[in-house]
């Protein structure tokens, strides 16, 4: 009856699905969850009770509904902790150098996930959210990572990508994208201007693991008006130095 299942333990996957229900809902009741997932009320109840005992869920004293629990938060803070701990001081240095917003992301198949963000005091509102996911082709960080992959892998990803357009400037042509990535690989950085959001420009450089494969990236983004060519060039030079240093400090993977 399961739509897809390799050799996975069903109750665990179902439990994860329950947790994921809360990505769009702060609080949910047993019946709501069972309907969202097509589970029987009793089954959902058993899973929820277990998750509550393990503190991945907790029950509101006020509403009686469930929400994500503290153990989940604690575990979340351990994810990529090394990378974040090492990189954050560099991010802060970048902000103080250029007074623009700085991001740290990691690759997740065909997306990037935002791990850390340091806002400039003078930053206008920029809607990247820590924990958020964006496609590779319309972000500087995504292109930077793609450019730092072995050509075969880069091509494989591009083939599987859906070049959805978020603005009129978003690249939609795979050949064009591949060509850009090749030159970016030589430059050591990637740029994006108003492909994600009008008025926003961003430059990024990748972080490499011991296999020489990009797995993360650091970016500086700001309003297009301030991000002129000379400024971008200056930022990129710093980015390349810093990402090299971070990669080296990671020491593993």
């Amino acid at each position: 009856m399961a739509l897809k299942s390799e050799k996975n333990i069903q109750s665990v996957s179902r439990a994860v699905q329950i947790l994921q229900c809360f990505e769009n809902n702060e609080e949910l009741g047993v019946t709501e969850i069972s309907r969202l997932l097509g589970l029987h009320k009793s089954t959902a109840f058993g899973l929820i009770t277990t998750l509550e005992a393990d503190k991945l869920l907790e029950k509101s004293e006020v509403t009686g509904k469930y929400r994500l629990g503290l153990e989940l938060f604690r575990l979340g803070t351990k994810v990529n902790a090394n990378l974040r701990r090492i990189a954050v001081p560099y991010l802060e240095r970048l902000v103080s150098l250029y007074q623009e917003t700085v991001n740290l992301v990691v690759l997740d198949d065909l997306s990037v996930v935002y791990l850390e963000k340091v806002d400039s005091t003078r930053s206008m509102y920029i809607n990247t959210v820590i924990g958020g996911k964006l496609p590779l082709h319309c972000t500087a960080v995504g292109k930077a990572i793609l450019s730092g992959l072995p050509p075969a892998e880069r091509q494989d990803k591009v083939e599987r990508m859906d070049l959805c357009g978020l603005t009129n400037n978003t690249i939609r042509d795979k050949a064009k994208l591949l060509a850009y990535l090749e030159s970016a690989a030589l430059d050591g950085y990637a740029e994006e201007s108003e492909e994600l959001e009008l008025g926003l420009t961003c430059v990024a450089a990748p972080l490499f693991n011991h296999l020489g494969k990009a797995f993360a990236a650091v970016s500086v983004s700001g309003p297009t008006s301030r991000m002129n060519a000379a400024f971008r060039q200056e930022i990129c030079e710093t980015l390349i130095v810093m990402t090299k240093e971070i990669s080296r400090k990671l020491g593993h993977d």
Copy 2:
């Protein structure tokens, strides 16, 4: 064979245990995990494979071992998101007012869990870690929350607590603690000086839910030398105003 189990789904709890193995280890192999938990290699492998498919674990391309996955990070960022989103601007205001480190914590049975921290630029090293857990009796935030609970619940918790001493100043007497909490309840804030760490002093005020029960707290902490009585008094007055406002803005729970 399980040590304790109410009506919980075992595979789910075991999966959670696997995740928790990574609190002290960045990377672990199948055999290591199975030994840590006393599971058969095959059983652990099945669970790990499932968690990997759901991206709660991921396998390092370099070492072949497993580590916590991005989906766990993403879920973690959703925990208490409302509280954090609303509170953080106030935390930042507090830092700019007093140039000391500010923390946001939530209650977790007999502990507090650190949700957010904003460092003063001039902060010395203070070893609270986001996602970290500390006992109630030796932190200002813990005492603040206890003071904001209904007396019956407060007493119940104190009875169940282990007043372990972290420094020579840590309260070890339950009657004394209860007496302090009663007066703190009237004041609306709580203090702690060198009970957690020598040289460190902290003041905190609780956040209340709609039932009038404290469930979280905000604190300002700094070196004892700077945290004199007049300064603490000033901070507390601001804290009380701000926590009231945050509680009100939460609107629910």
